[in-house]
Amino acid sequence: MSTLLEVKDLRLQFGGVKAVDGLSFTVESEEILAVIGPNGAGKTSAFNCISGFYLPTSGKVVFDGKDIVRNAPGFWRSLRLVDLLQSFGFYRVLPSRVTKWGMARTFQNLRLFRELSVLDNVKTAMHANIREGFWATLLHTPGYRRAEAECAEQARGWLDFVGFEGDENLFVTQLPYGEQRRVEIARALATSPKLLLLDEPAAGLNFNEKQALMQLIRSIRDLGVAVVLIEHDMGLIMNLAERIVVLNYGKEIAVGTPDQIKNDPVVIEAYLGVEDEPLDPTKLQTGTVDLSLLDDGKKGKLS
């Protein structure tokens, strides 16, 4: 076991909103880590920073010994050219590069290629793994044919692995939701990842499909792929995850095994709030008084 991903003091700010505020955690190789937290805790924003889609305000993300967050030199900063350069792919690591390094991800809302067949969707993900030159494609050389056949076989292998049972020539939009989820996971796996980020993979699945998904995630881990998943289904997480990171207000508030997390008072507070003291009639009274005062104030302003 070695550390595959290290996130250190990650910060992401949209104007005054701190979406991620000093997040730190690590992912060991070949483990299943769950990231949970209340809505708006910054889980997906953190995912987007880690996979290179967002440029974090500050912090460090090291994946497999490679830095994902890069800083432009002060000279460019002083000329205010950083955004321009970064939009051209300088002084940043593009998501495609992160994927080539071995980090695949799925999206919270399904984002399959709608006008491609199921097989082509998975083949597309093998873009970085196959070699086809311009002339080879134009002339259909034996090397090209071999690469295409290999690509198709791999894609079918992944479709079988995730248990896709339908017709591979259908368009993805013709599939039921659960099957689309499977195809999306197959597509992410086809990039040959070392780390798979799943953003709410169980959203919208029924009980049976969730069971199948749990089995699938375990078998992905058994291939030697670390899995990090964001999820809201506690039952699934407690069963599946080996470690859990709990986020609130863009910052991790607890890290530990499912049992530790279950009994952690900080986590319970974040999810359920602090237990109130028994209702006190006098307090209730002051509350109403406050409200009426506010009302009066407003009326006063209006008149």
């Binding site: 495609s96 076989e153 292998g157 079988d160 248990g163 339908g166 030697g224």
Partner: protein, 385 residues
Amino acid sequence: MSRLQSKADAALRAPSPLFDRPAAPGGIFTSNRGFLRALGVLCVVLLVVLPFMDASRYTMSVATSALIYVMFAMGLNVVVGYAGLLDLGYIAFFAVGAYVSGIFTTVLGWPMWAALPMTVLACILAGIIIGAPTLRLRSDYLAIVTLGFGEIIRITANNLKITGGPTGIHGIPTWSFGSWSFADGFTLFGIEFPQRVVFYYFVAAIVVLVGVIGAGRLAKGKMGRAWKAVRDDEDAAEAMGINTYIAKITAYIIGAVWAGVAGQLMATQLSAISPNSFQFLYSALILMAVVLGGMGSTPGVIIGALFVSLAPELLRDFSEWRFLIFGILLVVVMLFRPAGLWPSTAILPWLKKHRPVAPPTAGFMAVPSSASNEDLTTAEGEDAR
């Protein structure tokens, strides 16, 4: 559960497929692909036969420009249909091809074939110059910027000395190889082929081999899949390891080269070019050909290009009303076939009920990969009974 430590270093490979799938059906009427191939062969035969039916100056000229339009539209199809980049200034590359070949042949006196690599190079350069700054934009913004670039090229040609200013370039020679040129024509088996027929065949060969088959093959390979992925969802494509910027600029360059070659052919055919032949109207017309035919669909785009180039000829009697009728036809087509005349996702009507059956499986991950297929099929067979 055992963990495979050694797999962490090597690139992850898919487990081998659990079962053999039935081979895709071949045949002309039992598969989409076979039908399209047969149709393609039929079209090539028609192209070859056409001069024997009618080799008049008018027919040959109309047919040749129709073919050049097909090449042009196939190029735009790569940009708009496959990569989903709306380009309203596509005529710019056509102009670059025509002017570069015209300058090299008239001013420098090069033979036409030697100007071809120069045209291709110039178009690649133009594609990069126009594409590099604009391809960071998406959809509408890209359309506006390309529209601007299309006009910039035309106005530049209008004002430069080397391009002949508003009068353009005259006396562009036809193709010549050594001492023989198309103007000489040639005789084969006692049949005489005049210049217009030789040029027609030459254009037909380039359009079929490079324009249609070449573009179709590029669209099926790795790069083509990347283009379509970028068109469908740019962020997801990026997440799949596709550098979307490179994919888009490749599409742009390929489109530019296709248009440049078409421009060179057009310059040869007309033997004179002027900035007036590269107005925005033609960008719009060719975009219409692609959208009308069906974006990303080879047969559709060919139909669209033929329609756009032949309709003005067929509607010649209505001269003044031509564009009105054109517009009405367009509205009708878009009402009844919004995805185009022959959409890329089209399934031949008689194949709709012959959808391939789902392959036999024994449930999710229940069967190890070593299990024989016979067991599966028998189990499935019992289920069916």
